[in-house]
C-alpha cells in the first residue's frame, strides 16, 4: 500500500494555500493533521448516533454506547490490550496526571520516582507535584549522543523507587528507548513501570508487554481528534486504584455519604465521555492499520535518513540525538550557527562569536517559506538544560510527508 505514503490526498488541509503556495507541515510531533476518514467518522457519529452513553434504554443511546465501546475495543486491539484495560482521557498529560493522583497518592516520604532527563513536562510535573510530600524525583542521565545511560538508570534505581516512568521515544532527540529492557529492570526491582508512548504508539508497531503496567498516549498525535487520549492499565492495578475524577457514569451506587464505584475502565471516566473523540480515534487507528505500522515506521525512517544526510552536508546546522536512523524516530531537533555574527564583548571590542541563531528566528525564516517547524524548548526544559541550550528548531514527519517536504525543508534551510 505504498501509495498512502507522503500522499496528501486524504488530508484536506493540504489543499490550503498560503500566499498562493502549498504548506510544508513538519510539526506532527506536536499534533497531526486529520484524514477525511476521521472527519467523516466524527460527522457520521453526530449525524447518525449522537446520544449520551450507558444506562439508557432507547435506540440512539444504545447506538452511542455501542460505537463508544467498539472504539475502545478497536484501540485496545491496536496495542494488544483487553478493552477493559483502556481508559479514555483527554490526552497523554491527563493520563499521567491520573496516575499521579491515584497511584502517586500511595507514595510516602522517602519513596522515589525515577524518570529521565529527556522527558516531556507531562512526564515530569505530575511527579514533581509529589515532591511536596517528600517523595524524591530522580533523573536518569544521557550519553553524548542522546541515548539513555542504562548504567546510570541501574544505579539510580533504589529499593525505595516505587515508580519508573520513561518516554518510549523522545519528542526532541528522537531517541527510541529500550523500554522492554528498562521495563524488566524496573519490574525486577518491584517498581511500577509506566511508558509515555505519546511518540511511539503513533509512529511504530507497539504491543503491550507484561512489563508495562501503564501506557499513555494521545489521539491528536496519531491522526485522531483533539480532546481524546488513552491510558492503558493492567486490569488488576486499575481495580486496586482509587478513582480520579468523580461524578456521573463512574458509580454503581451513591447515597448521601458513600459511593460504590464502577469497575474499570468506567470507574475512571467521570461525567459524559467524549464519544466523538473515541469514534474519531478509532477511525484514525483504522487508517493507520490500513497502512500498517511497520510501514509507517519504515517510511518515517526513510524520511529521517535522507534528511539527516542532507543536514550532515550543511556546515552551519547542528542536530541533536542519535545519528543512526534505526535508533530514532522521525523527529529532528536542530540549531543553525550564526557564522557571520560580530559582537561587542564586555570590554567593548568587536569579536566574532560562534553563536547559534535563536530557534524562533529559524522558525520564522522557514515560516516565510511556508515551512512549518516548531521552535523553543518543546516542553522539555530539563533536557534543554542538560544540552545547555535554550531551545531548538524541530522538524518532524508523519505518514502524509514525502520527499517533496524534505526537499522544501532542506532547500529553505540552506537559504538562511
Amino acid at each position: 500500500m505504498i501509495n498512502t505514503y507522503g500522499n496528501k490526498d486524504d488530508f484536506p488541509i493540504f489543499n490550503k494555500r498560503v500566499n498562493g503556495k502549498r504548506i510544508i507541515y513538519l510539526d506532527s510531533t506536536a499534533t497531526t493533521q486529520k484524514p477525511r476518514q476521521v472527519l467523516d467518522a466524527i460527522i457520521g457519529y453526530y449525524e447518525g448516533s449522537n446520544a449520551n452513553v450507558h444506562r439508557s434504554v432507547y435506540k440512539l443511546a444504545d447506538e452511542a454506547t455501542e460505537v463508544y465501546e467498539r472504539s475502545r475495543k478497536n484501540i485496545g486491539d491496536f496495542i494488544g490490550s483487553r478493552e477493559n484495560e483502556i481508559v479514555f482521557t483527554r490526552n497523554t498529560t491527563e493520563s499521567l496526571n491520573l496516575l499521579s493522583y491515584t497511584v502517586g497518592e500511595s507514595l510516602k516520604k522517602g519513596d522515589r520516582i525515577l524518570i529521565t532527563s529527556m522527558e516531556h513536562h507531562s512526564n515530569i510535573l505530575p511527579w514533581m507535584r509529589l515532591e511536596e510530600r517528600g517523595v524524591i524525583l530522580d533523573y536518569v542521565g544521557l550519553d553524548e549522543m542522546g541515548h539513555l545511560d542504562l548504567e546510570d538508570l541501574k544505579s539510580k534505581l533504589k529499593r525505595e523507587t516505587r515508580i519508573v516512568s520513561v518516554a518510549h521515544q523522545s519528542n526532541v532527540l528522537g531517541t527510541i528507548n529500550p523500554i522492554e529492557e528498562i521495563g524488566k529492570i524496573a519490574k525486577d526491582n518491584g517498581s511500577i513501570f509506566i511508558v509515555d508512548a505519546a511518540q511511539s504508539v503513533p509512529h511504530m508497531p507497539f504491543r503491550i508487554r507484561e512489563e508495562y503496567d501503564f501506557v499513555a498516549f494521545s489521539g491528536h498525535k496519531m491522526l485522531g481528534p483533539m480532546g481524546i487520549g488513552v491510558l492503558y492499565g493492567k486490569y488488576n492495578l486499575l481495580e486496586e486504584m482509587p478513582p480520579f475524577n468523580r461524578g456521573g457514569e463512574m458509580i454503581k451506587d451513591v447515597d448521601f455519604h458513600n459511593a460504590i464505584f464502577e469497575d474499570p475502565p468506567i470507574k475512571f471516566e467521570a461525567g459524559t465521555p467524549n464519544v466523538e473523540g473515541a469514534v474519531g480515534l478509532s477511525a484514525a487507528v483504522d487508517y493507520l492499520k490500513n497502512i500498517g505500522m511497520e510501514e509507517v515506521r519504515r517510511h518515517e525512517r526513510y524520511l529521517t535518513s535522507i534528511t539527516l544526510k542532507s543536514l550532515d552536508g550543511m556546515k552551519n546546522v547542528k542536530y541533536y540525538g542519535p545519528r543512526d536512523p534505526d535508533e530514532r524516530g522521525g523527529v529532528i531537533a536542530f540549531n543553525v550557527k550564526d557564522t557571520t555574527n560580530l559582537k561587542k564583548d564586555l570590554e567593548g571590542r568587536n569579536i566574532k562569536v560562534d553563536r547559534l541563531y535563536h530557534s524562533h528566528d529559524i522558525a520564522t525564516f522557514l515560516d516565510d517559506r511556508n515551512v512549518y517547524v516548531r521552535s523553543g524548548h518543546h516542553c522539555a526544559e530539563p533536557l534543554m538544560r542538560t544540552l545547555n541550550i535554550t531551545g531548538t528548531a524541530r522538524a518532524s514527519f508523519y505518514v502524509y510527508n514525502g520527499d517533496d517536504d524534505v526537499e522544501a525543508f532542506i532547500s529553505s534551510l540552506s537559504e538562511i
Partner: protein, 121 residues
C-alpha cells in the same frame, strides 16, 4: 534571515554597551525563550538622556531593544511607557507574526516594569 535593515542592526547594534553611571538598571529575562536583556538608563527624572543594553536574545528582541534604546533618547519616560502596543509593533521595521509579538515587545515591557518605581536598582 530577515530584511537587510534588521540584519544590519542585529550585526551592528548602536546601543549595545554597558553603562557605568546609569540611574536605572532593568534586568529582563524571558525564561521560556532564554532571552536575557539588561537595560541601562540615564535620566533627568523626566526624560531619557541615554539608554543602552547588554544581553542575549533572538534577532527580533535584540533589534527591537537596540531600536528602543536609540529612539528613546530625549523622550519623556511617561510618553514612552504610554505608547500603545499595537503602534509599537507596527513601527518595527518588519511585519511580525502573532507568535513573535513577545520578542518585539520585550524592551517596552521591561521598561514599563522597571520604571514603575523610579530609582529602582
Amino acid at each position: 534571515m530577515y530584511s537587510d535593515e534588521v540584519m544590519d542592526r542585529y550585526q551592528n547594534p548602536v546601543k549595545n554597551s554597558k553603562m557605568e553611571d546609569y540611574d536605572i538598571k532593568i534586568d529582563e529575562a524571558s525564561t521560556t525563550c532564554g532571552d536575557k536583556i539588561i537595560l541601562y538608563i540615564k535620566t533627568d527624572g523626566e526624560r531619557i538622556k541615554d539608554m543602552t543594553w547588554q544581553g542575549e536574545g533572538c534577532i527580533l528582541s535584540i533589534v527591537s531593544t537596540d531600536l528602543f534604546c536609540e529612539n528613546s533618547v530625549g523622550k519623556e519616560i511617561n510618553g514612552i511607557k504610554e505608547q500603545d502596543d499595537l503602534s509599537f509593533i507596527e513601527s518595527f521595521p518588519v511585519k511580525i507574526s502573532p507568535g513573535r509579538i513577545n520578542c518585539v515587545m520585550l524592551p517596552l515591557r521591561a521598561f514599563r516594569r522597571g520604571t514603575r518605581q523610579p530609582g529602582r536598582e
